[in-house]
């Protein structure tokens, strides 16, 4: 892939000593449970707050949200109370968003062209490239206005180089205004100590798989592999963390007793339980066909766990030398890669790369493209 020409983004003149104002649409933070895009939004806001060089305000549906309420939600780790306040008090005390300030959307926009300066984040283009893995309403939601959103953006932030490359393939006119915004992992303080003070989970030898159960996650490759003679008799179990998603009707019911013995589905778990399950795993398995970024892989690396990953989209750029890769459509390659990463010598070889790789992804790196856009980088 040839690199697209990188041009300098327009930056506004800023009065000496004044912080430039930036409004972030924190709509995703109004959700009760934060996974995926809400977590991305939280990390972005926290990275910008920590940097301190922009004057942040917040909005949702073109309504300004009180900064104190948003910051409280960040502290709570849930949007339940922020949403309650919005629903109960908007009439009496909320104001429309200041459309004169630059507006940053951590996900797709509900409406384009509100502010003269807008930026949005494209996480992936799977609704375009693999719509059969989504329900029609989701495809329509993401695709109907994408071209208009991109056209109205001064800056298009992509969750990974993979997303940037894929987006430019289909929308080459956006090339000059795209930047990559890699996110980072930030486990809550205290998790490590709490885990240290608890007994090790009695789960035997296991690998961990993290993500909503849906077709794109490609769990079927694991099922196929478990029926191979060379894997059938292994004592390695697979703990699959994540809620049941879409288009998987019958998937769980179709599991054989032997597969059920080896696969443990936890459903949705708390961040701390996820932390512990990753921390005590041998390694992570990430067989997805396609990811915009793949934050669970980075979570595993941050806890010193190598990743057995599909050779697809963003995985090589996120996991680097701390993983073993396979063709996500080949059960033979998957089985060979599994045997490779299970070998103690290979696992020991990979482990030193894990935390170094995770350390490349920092709040400063995440905030940088937004700060460059604001003219303060």
């Amino acid at each position: 892939m040839s690199k697209s020409p990188r041009r300098t983004l327009k930056t506004p003149a800023i009065a000496r000593g004044a912080k430039p104002r930036l409004t972030v649409d924190v709509g995703p933070l109004l959700e009760t449970f934060w996974t995926g895009i809400p977590v991305f939004t939280r990390r972005l806001v926290q990275a910008l707050l920590a940097d301190g060089r922009v004057d942040l305000s917040y909005c949702f549906n073109l309504t300004e949200l009180p900064a104190a309420k948003v910051h409280a939600a960040l502290g709570m780790g849930t949007g339940a109370f922020l949403r309650h306040h919005y629903e109960a008090h908007a009439y009496a005390s909320y104001r429309p968003v200041d459309t004169g300030a630059p507006l940053l959307y951590p996900s797709n926009k509900k409406v384009a062209g509100v502010s003269p300066r807008e930026a949005s984040v494209v996480h992936d283009i799977s609704t375009l490239a693999m719509p059969e893995n989504h329900d029609t309403a989701n495809v329509d939601h993401h695709m109907d206005s994408l071209a208009q959103e991109l056209a109205s953006d001064e800056l298009v932030l992509c969750a990974s180089e993979a997303t940037q490359a894929a987006l430019i393939t289909y929308f080459p006119s956006t090339a000059a205004k795209t930047r990559v915004m890699h996110q980072y992992v930030d486990w809550p303080e205290g998790f490590a100590l709490m885990d240290h003070n608890l007994p090790r989970p009695e789960l035997g030898r296991y690998a961990v798989v993290v993500g909503t159960i849906e077709p794109r996650k490609n769990l079927s490759i694991l099922l196929h592999a478990l029926s191979l003679p060379e894997l059938r008799d292994s004592d390695l179990k697979f703990i699959i963390i994540g809620k049941v998603g879409w288009l998987v009707e019958g998937f769980l019911e179709a599991l054989t007793p032997a597969q059920r013995e080896r696969l443990i589905f936890t459903g949705f778990v708390s961040e701390f339980v996820k932390y512990r399950l990753i921390a005590h795993a041998e390694f992570m398995v990430f067989p997805s066909l396609y990811e915009g970024f793949g934050i669970p892989a980075l979570e595993a690396l941050s806890l010193g766990k190598p990743v057995l990953a599909a050779r697809t989209s963003s995985f090589p750029e996120v996991i680097g030398k701390a993983g073993v890769y396979f063709d996500p459509l080949s059960v033979v390659e998957f089985a060979a890669a599994l045997a490779e990463i299970e070998a103690p010598a290979r696992l020991a070889e990979l482990k030193p790369h894990t935390r170094d790789q995770a350390a490349l992804f920092t709040p400063e790196r995440m905030a940088a493209p937004a700060l460059e856009w604001m003219g303060v980088a």
Partner: protein, 365 residues
């Protein structure tokens, strides 16, 4: 020469949901061993016959979207070697582009109304997609990107040799304007007409109706008029090919329903009687079975002309292409059809439906 260094072909993933997990790269024979809909199978066979048979490499890619950049794209590039051309076998829902290669389109479902609608929707949603297509195989679709019109260069790849062995059966045409169900039920009860029913006529006009045409109000008005004309020419046979939908699980009652519903909704008045010189064919007519008749072929929109060898068309004394009045016929399309048929077709224009031209319809094939 076309694809002179070989060809990489993207497969439509939804047709391979139950394929064995044997990898992202497939050979033609492995693809053909899968349970494929007819149009896709024909397209794969065509590519095999044109590319592989010429000694050039042909590699099919399942899920090309996973090869975005960096290491994954390098892995694919290493396996594609010197192949410079990539063709997306498109169902209309997805058109794949492969970075760094010349991208081509083969829309193999052009006979299907919902696939045509999906492709239109896609090119509106992604206006920069079509201008990146170097050519389109067996299509002449025009796309709009803002104010710019763009028609990727049409390329003809046509089947060669014997296409089929005459599997059509024939049904009488009975139209009950009070109940399509009654029409279909009576047809089922009457069963097939004798195989020699066509041999009684010295002149036959054959209209193989497509799913796209069956859904077009203007075409149904044209078709109904052809049927009314047939009332006054009992010595001539009007043979209507029933429209096939998805291809995998279609049945004769469903095909008949699709045909008759279009006529009921848009065709106007037709006699509620069995019309002896109007017959329905349930599959493609083998013209070689009618050596003595004077044959005319009327091709509606979406007809997959490329699936038949040129020899098939040589049996017809006249070939017409039926198009709505507002539809442009670019010279490239006429040239492609002329090459496919072996002689120049006549264009038959029919009036668009009342209410005028629908938005976005004036620049397509």
């Amino acid at each position: 020469m076309l694809f002179d260094k070989g060809l990489a072909v993207s497969l439509p993933a939804r047709e391979f949901a139950h394929a064995p997990p044997q990898g992202a790269l497939w050979e033609a024979e492995a693809v053909l061993r899968q349970n494929l809909p007819g149009g896709l199978r024909a397209a794969v066979q065509l590519l095999r016959d044109h590319v592989e048979a010429a000694g050039r490499p042909l590699i099919f890619i399942l899920r090309p979207e996973i090869f975005t950049h960096g290491e994954s794209l390098a892995w694919l590039n290493a396996r594609l070697g010197e192949i410079e051309d990539h063709l997306s076998l498109s169902d209309g829902v997805v058109v794949h582009l492969l970075p760094g290669r010349r991208n081509h389109l083969f829309f193999y479902r052009s006979s299907q109304a919902e696939a045509v609608a999906a492709l239109k929707r896609l090119t509106v949603r992604v206006p920069e997609l079509a201008p990146q297509l170097v050519s389109q195989v067996n299509c002449c679709l025009g796309f709009s990107a803002g104010k710019t019109k763009y028609t990727p260069r049409p390329v003809l790849l046509q089947a060669t040799g014997q296409a089929f062995a005459g599997m059509a059966s024939f049904r009488e045409f009975y139209f009950n304007d009070c109940g399509i169900e009654d029409s279909v039920a009576r047809s089922e009860l009457a069963g097939d007409l004798p195989a020699d029913v066509l041999a009684r006529y010295g002149e036959i006009t054959y209209i193989p109706i497509t799913d796209v045409a069956a859904a077009d109000p203007g075409f149904n008005r044209y078709l109904a008029q052809r049927i009314r004309v047939a009332l006054g020419t009992p010595e001539r046979l009007l043979l209507l090919g029933a429209p096939l939908a998805a291809g995998k699980e279609d049945t004769i009652p469903r095909m008949l329903t699709r045909l008759l519903r279009g006529l009921l909704e848009h065709g106007g008045v037709l006699p509620r009687a069995v019309l002896r010189n109007v017959v329905i064919a349930t599959a493609l007519l083998d013209a070689a079975d009618l050596p003595d008749a004077k044959l005319e072929l009327v091709v509606p929109e979406g007809f997959e002309f490329w699936r038949l060898p040129r020899g098939y068309y040589s049996r017809f004394a006249k070939i017409s292409v039926a198009l709505p009045l507002h539809r442009a016929v670019p010279p490239e399309l006429l040239a492609m059809l002329t090459a496919a048929f072996g002689f120049s077709p006549e264009i038959v224009w029919f009036d668009p439906p009342p209410g005028g031209i629908r938005a976005g319809e004036n620049d397509d094939e």
